[in-house]
């Protein structure tokens, strides 16, 4: 299992080092620095040297590194690294060199708690926060019952929830956030379109509420069983937060759970059928001789007039030898960014039913060596509120609790794309 855990900064200096097992020496950190940090050509997230394997994940110029000497479970090690990052984010906001240095005591406390002898332990943020806090805790101040309550929670069947939660107003917010992945060929055919959906919940509910959650889905495990579409949405697969009773879902398809207090990700799902693409991009890019490239790019919306797409950012790649780009846009702002070889076209809002067109000409310098332009895809980022690309709708959220209180539920929908909505040209 995990023998050591390190955090390096970009220069390869050790910010955090913790050896969980004795089969390694601290000096192993130098090996990582030499082999990975100061090596510009690292092409794999796992590096094995001799019998030592380094797993690394990069976040904001930091290397989060786990080291093992055995045939470790690679998926688990990476999940663990990402979990650490998530916990750190939730404790002190941003994970970067500055924050790691400022919070190193807390980090040591955390990594000792979430890992013992190389085996990951309870890493539920909500629970951790009850006994690892930013202010120091005096053990005398905490009555014994209190701490045994904590430990029962940390090990219990509902390790994610305290029992004594109380709210004046019982509310639950459900956010359905869908990320659309698209790759469209130059001819305008959809090569791949799918939706990664996340259902985020913020539960401010008293006591130990029992929740039941319903969607207009029908989970299709076998594609051959598809029939009678109706308005039901076909989900290819879904995954749940650990609070959801998986065995119950497996047998009766009901999503029932006792939610953690506060914010958590209830489920993620994937859908590939009938994906409604909110924006349609129609590019016409022509290379005029070797001296210039002309762009005519039209963006059409594909949703109801009452809705609108916001924060639309379209990145149009330009050839590497571009000198200047002359852009004309009716809406938003377009600017050539030489460092990234793109024209960035930002549109704050496009109302449903509208369409906008950019026309631009890029001037090229002459180059000596013949190099075909690779034409990377056009990338589109956007957000559309109250719209789901998969068509998913929350049917109900029922809350049952002993005291039978009334609870208010709110649902929001958001469809977005960032970095994965790509149109080739």
């Amino acid at each position: 299992m995990i023998s050591a855990f390190f955090i390096f900064n970009q220069k390869g200096e050790v910010l955090i080092s913790r050896l969980y097992r004795t089969d390694l020496k601290r000096s192993i950190a130098d090996v990582f620095r030499i082999q990975v940090v100061s090596n510009s050509d690292v092409r794999s997230p796992i590096i094995t040297l001799g019998s030592t394997s380094f797993f690394h994940v990069r976040v904001n110029n930091l290397y989060v590194v786990a080291v093992t000497k055995c045939n470790a479970n690679a998926a688990l090690v990476f999940e663990y690294c990402y979990r650490f990052i998530a916990i750190a984010k939730s404790y002190f906001g941003k994970v970067d060199e500055e924050s790691v240095k400022n919070n190193f005591v807390l980090i040591y406390e955390l990594i000792d708690e979430i890992n013992d002898f190389g085996y990951p332990q309870n890493s539920e943020i909500d629970t951790l926060k009850t006994y690892i806090t930013t202010e120091s805790v005096m053990s005398t101040n905490v009555p014994a019952e209190e701490s045994s309550k904590i430990t029962t929670q940390a090990t219990g069947a509902t390790s994610w929830r305290r029992t004594d939660v109380k709210y004046k107003k019982n509310e639950a917010f459900v956010d359905v956030v869908e990320t659309v992945n698209l790759s469209m060929s130059a001819k305008g055919t959809v090569l791949r379109a799918d939706v990664d959906g996340h259902i985020l919940m913020r539960a401010y509910l008293s006591g130990t509420p029992e929740c039941k959650f319903g969607l207009n889905d029908k989970l299709v495990i076998d594609k051959s069983e598809r029939s009678g579409l109706g308005d039901a949405v076909e989900l290819d697969d879904c995954r749940f937060h650990q609070c959801v009773r998986l065995d119950e879902f497996d047998s009766t398809r009901t999503i029932s759970f006792i939610p953690p207090d506060g914010e958590f990700e209830l489920m993620t799902y994937r859908s590939t059928s009938n994906v409604k693409l909110p924006l349609r991009v129609i590019p016409t890019v022509t290379e005029i001789g070797t001296s210039s490239v002309s762009y005519v790019v039209t963006v059409k919306t594909n949703f109801n007039n009452k809705l609108s797409a916001t924060n639309v950012v379209i990145r149009l790649p330009t050839p590497l030898n571009t000198t200047t780009v002359d852009c004309k846009v009716p809406n938003g702002k377009a600017k050539y960014v030489p460092a990234e070889n793109v024209v960035v076209w930002k549109i704050p809002r496009i109302q449903g039913g509208q369409e906008v067109t950019l026309s631009a000409t890029a001037q090229l310098t002459t180059t000596t060596h013949r190099q075909v332009w690779a034409r990377p895809p056009i990338d589109v980022d956007f957000q559309v509120l109250m719209f789901t690309a998969s068509g998913l709708i929350v049917r109900f959220l029922k809350v049952f609790e002993k005291s039978n209180y009334h609870s208010i539920k709110w649902v929001r929908y958001l469809t977005k794309a960032s970095g994965s909505y790509q149109v080739r040209f």
């Binding site: 299992m1 050790v14 910010l15 955090i16 690292v42 794999s44 997230p45 590096i47 094995t48 040297l49 001799g50 394997s53 994940v57 055995c70 045939n71 479970n73 998926a75 688990l76 990476f78 663990y80 990402y82 240095k101 400022n102 190193f104 005591v105 040591y108 000792d112 002898f117 006994y131 120091s136 805790v137 053990s139 905490v142 701490s147 045994s148 029962t152 940390a154 090990t155 069947a157 390790s159 090569l191 990664d196 594609k223 290819d236 697969d237 995954r239 749940f240 959801v244 998986l246 497996d250 489920m267 993620t268 994937r270 590939t272 075909v372 690779a374 990377p376 990338d379 790509q422 080739r424």
Partner: protein, 756 residues
């Protein structure tokens, strides 16, 4: 906090020491923090041990943790001082606060001092039976820590028995940690060649684990699923039962849980099959067979969507999943047959993810999706990363070889790519075309003029050698073949050895086909090769040809133009026995590297000689032999990996890309040259077995191909049907072994090699 990481001042430790003994609490705590900060940047603060120790007795939990952290780091260097801490530890294990009790027992296990260990046993005994589950789960792991330090103590105190009882604990987390501890101890014992009966998953244990599985934390689930996969099912119903209980875990948000569940559900299905074999003679065969099929089908159906979902994880996790999917596909090509599109590369995927996706796409290629695949591959071939572009072009070649009907479309795509005239694209396309010619001889001759037109563009040995091979092979169809080859003969001594060898062979082929027009050329090349060439392999081959041609042109014809077996795309990149083993280790490093754990884990890693012994335990002889070869090859490879300075370990292509040259490895260099030590032996063995020359079995294929002029290193099918006895008949030697299994170690080692 402002003083952290300040540049070292004179006598910093002295100041710290003063602060640690300060009468103010805050000052002391701050000093401890600074000590820890110094410790992290590897400044020596071991001298402050007594001062830090004084601060251990405190009600401030945070301060206590910091002192413990310090102790863990320096206990080993100050064993006689640690003894001073024992009292506090033992006292803490009686603290009313369970967090303090757990903390004390957790830390004591981490102190690497002989003296303190003896004091650990009593508190541990107590904590294992603590009323609080949090303390119990911490104590369970502490037993594993103790075993790591002093196994005798664990045995003497009966901690193992206690652990085994704790599997029945009412708390799922305690069960999970107990399982983790037992597995850890078990593995350590096995690694040391001791008793391997420490943790046996029996039927009773199984049921307890299945109960705990649904209730414990995600990490605990992984530990429990791991243990489940070690269970040997008794019959069909039992494996069905396990599968049913495990399947819900496919929906878990944590990728490692999903993969562990996949592992378990794959295991009972193969274990079930094994059970079936045992009961084969006794019970009705049909019924069992059908049911087993159903079970497998059902499992596979449920497994596919979660596997695809793993691709929405961060890239590192995706990569692990992709490597495992690759393995699963080798075992069961049908799992994801309709899902090729999800493996299309995104422009911003990291290279390692893209490469795996390419490999999987080729595996999933079939009649129904080949068009989509080809247009996608063509798209990739215009991207920026040279390595990725080359692999994409290779993938086109592999598709052509895999699907006969699509070969023509592939060739057309390749021609389009050649027309881009981008140097590395053209070169790679030429190499790929060579393999297409090997698979479909005399089919796409119309392409040859286009290829020859790009002769000047080629500057890489592999591409040159490929084109020369094509010219030699089709010498009678190319009018100006002698002219073209003449160019290479002209510069013969400046070319690299593979090119020289190919030129030599191609000219001989040309001579045998058009004796009149090329007599002068063959004379010249043989002269140059035997007189001016400094490679013994080239020289030897030239001598052989010369002698053959001068004594018996008929024999020369039958050797040089011998029938060559057609190439196929290997369905697996590892031997069947190894594949079975790796599938049982899904999501571990071994499955990521596609090579057995012994090759990269353990003290000495594996000695090649130890492997056959292990292999011979297998029932199946043939598999055993293969496995042995496999691991020998892997062993050699891993030796190379350790050679950090090895100049040959540059970037190498890998994986399914079986068509590349292995020129960089010494063993393969032997192969490349035909054979280094004694080429005549090979020849003799061919002539000695004339009957065998025409059988399409691999070793002769390899040899005659070598002499027939195609020594491109790895043939496209590394392990077609061959028996060890045939291998014996042909010259036994390292060459054949590497020849047979050149791929698997390489695919994994590429990741490592890329580093140096």
């Amino acid at each position: 906090m402002a003083t952290f990481r300040a540049p070292p001042r004179k006598g910093e430790n002295y100041e710290l020491s003063a602060d640690l003994n300060s009468e103010y609490k805050d000052k002391r705590k701050d000093a401890i923090k600074r000590v820890i900060a110094n410790m992290t940047v590897q400044k020596d603060v071991s001298g402050l041990f007594p001062d830090v120790l004084k601060n251990m007795q405190t009600d401030d939990l945070e301060q206590k943790k910091l002192v413990y952290l310090y102790l863990m780091n320096y206990a080993k260097t100050q064993p006689e001082l640690v003894i001073l801490a024992v009292n506090t530890f033992v006292k803490d294990t009686d603290d009313p606060n369970p967090l303090v009790r757990a903390l004390a027992i957790r830390t004591m296990g981490c102190l690497r001092a002989e003296k303190i260990i003896d004091y650990l046993c009593d508190p541990l005994q107590k904590c294992l039976r603590d009323e609080n589950p949090y303390v119990r789960k911490t104590a369970a792991l502490c037993v594993a820590k103790l075993y790591d330090l002093k196994p005798e103590l664990v045995m003497e105190n009966g901690f193992l028995e206690t652990l085994q009882e704790m599997i029945s604990d009412s708390n799922p987390m305690v069960v999970a940690n107990t399982v983790a501890a037992l597995t850890d101890i078990h593995d350590a014992a096995v690694a040391n060649g001791l008793d391997s009966e420490i943790f046996v998953v029996t039927n009773t244990v199984l049921n307890k684990l299945l109960v705990a599985l649904n209730e414990c934390s995600e990490w605990g689930r992984v530990a429990i699923l791991n243990a489940l996969s070690r269970y040997d099912t008794q019959d069909e119903r039992e494996s069905e039962h396990i599968c049913e209980r495990v399947v819900p875990q496919f929906q878990h948000a944590n990728a490692s849980v999903v993969l562990a569940a996949v592992k378990v559900s794959v295991c009972p299905t193969c274990n079930g099959a094994r059970g079936f074999k045992r009961g084969h003679q006794v019970i009705m065969i049909h019924l069992r067979n059908v049911r087993s099929d159903n079970l497998t089908k059902q499992m596979i159906r449920k497994m596919a969507p979660p596997l695809v979902t793993l691709l929405s994880n961060p890239p590192e996790v995706q990569w692990v999943a992709l490597r495992d999917i690759n393995l699963l596909l080798q075992k069961r090509p049908d799992i994801l047959s309709s899902e090729m599109r999800v493996f299309f590369c995104k422009y911003n995927d990291p290279l390692y993810v893209k490469v795996e996706k390419l490999d999987i796409m080729v595996r999933l290629a079939g009649d129904n999706n080949v068009d989509a695949l080809l247009s996608e591959l063509k798209e990739y071939a215009s991207e920026v990363d040279v390595d990725f572009v080359r692999r994409s072009i290779k993938a086109i070649g592999q598709t052509a070889i895999k699907i006969d009907e699509a070969a023509e479309r592939c060739v057309n795509v390749l021609l389009e790519l050649i027309n881009t005239r981008v140097s590395y694209v053209v070169q790679e396309a030429v190499v790929v075309m060579k393999d297409i010619f090997r698979k479909y001889p005399s089919t796409y001759e119309g392409v040859i003029p286009t290829l020859c037109a790009n002769l000047d563009e080629l500057d890489e040995p592999e591409a040159k050698a490929s084109l020369i091979w094509i010219i030699g092979e089709y010498a009678n169809k190319i009018d100006n073949a002698d002219e073209l080859l003449g160019i290479f003969v002209e510069t013969f001594t400046e070319e690299s050895y593979p090119v020289q060898l190919q030129t030599l062979t191609a000219v001989v082929k040309l001579y045998l086909r058009k004796p009149d027009s090329s007599q002068g050329l063959v004379q010249r090349v043989l002269n140059t090769a035997t007189k001016d060439c400094d490679s013994p392999d080239v020289r030897d081959r030239a001598y052989i040809y010369w002698r053959l041609l001068s004594t018996d042109p008929g024999a020369a014809k039958s050797v040089v133009q011998a029938h060559r077996p057609t190439i196929t795309l290997p369905r697996t990149t590892v031997s069947p026995a190894l594949l079975e083993e790796l599938i049982g280790e899904i999501s571990t490093l071994a499955s990521v590297y596609h090579k057995p754990a012994e090759t990269f884990v353990g003290r000495g890693r594996i000695a090649a000689s130890a492997v056959p012994r292990k292999g011979s335990e297998l029932e199946d002889d043939q598999n055993a032999a293969r496995k042995a070869f496999q691991t020998v090859a892997a062993g050699q490879q891993s030796e190379n990996l350790l050679n950090f300075d090895d100049p040959t370990s540059d970037e190498q292509p890998s994986g399914l890309a079986a068509t590349q040259v292995l020129a960089a490895t010494p063993a393969a260099a032997n192969l490349l040259s035909g054979h280094s030590s004694n080429p005549l032996d090979d020849l003799v063995s061919i002539f000695g077995n004339t009957g065998m020359t025409n059988t399409p079995s691999q070793p002769q294929g390899g040899l005659s191909v070598g002499l027939g002029g195609l020594s491109f290193g790895a043939p496209i099918s590394p392990a077609p049907p061959m028996t060890p006895s045939v291998l014996q008949a042909a010259t036994p030697g390292p060459m054949l072994q590497t020849h047979q299994q050149p791929q698997p170690p390489q695919s994994a080692s590429e990741d490592l090699l890329g580093l140096f």
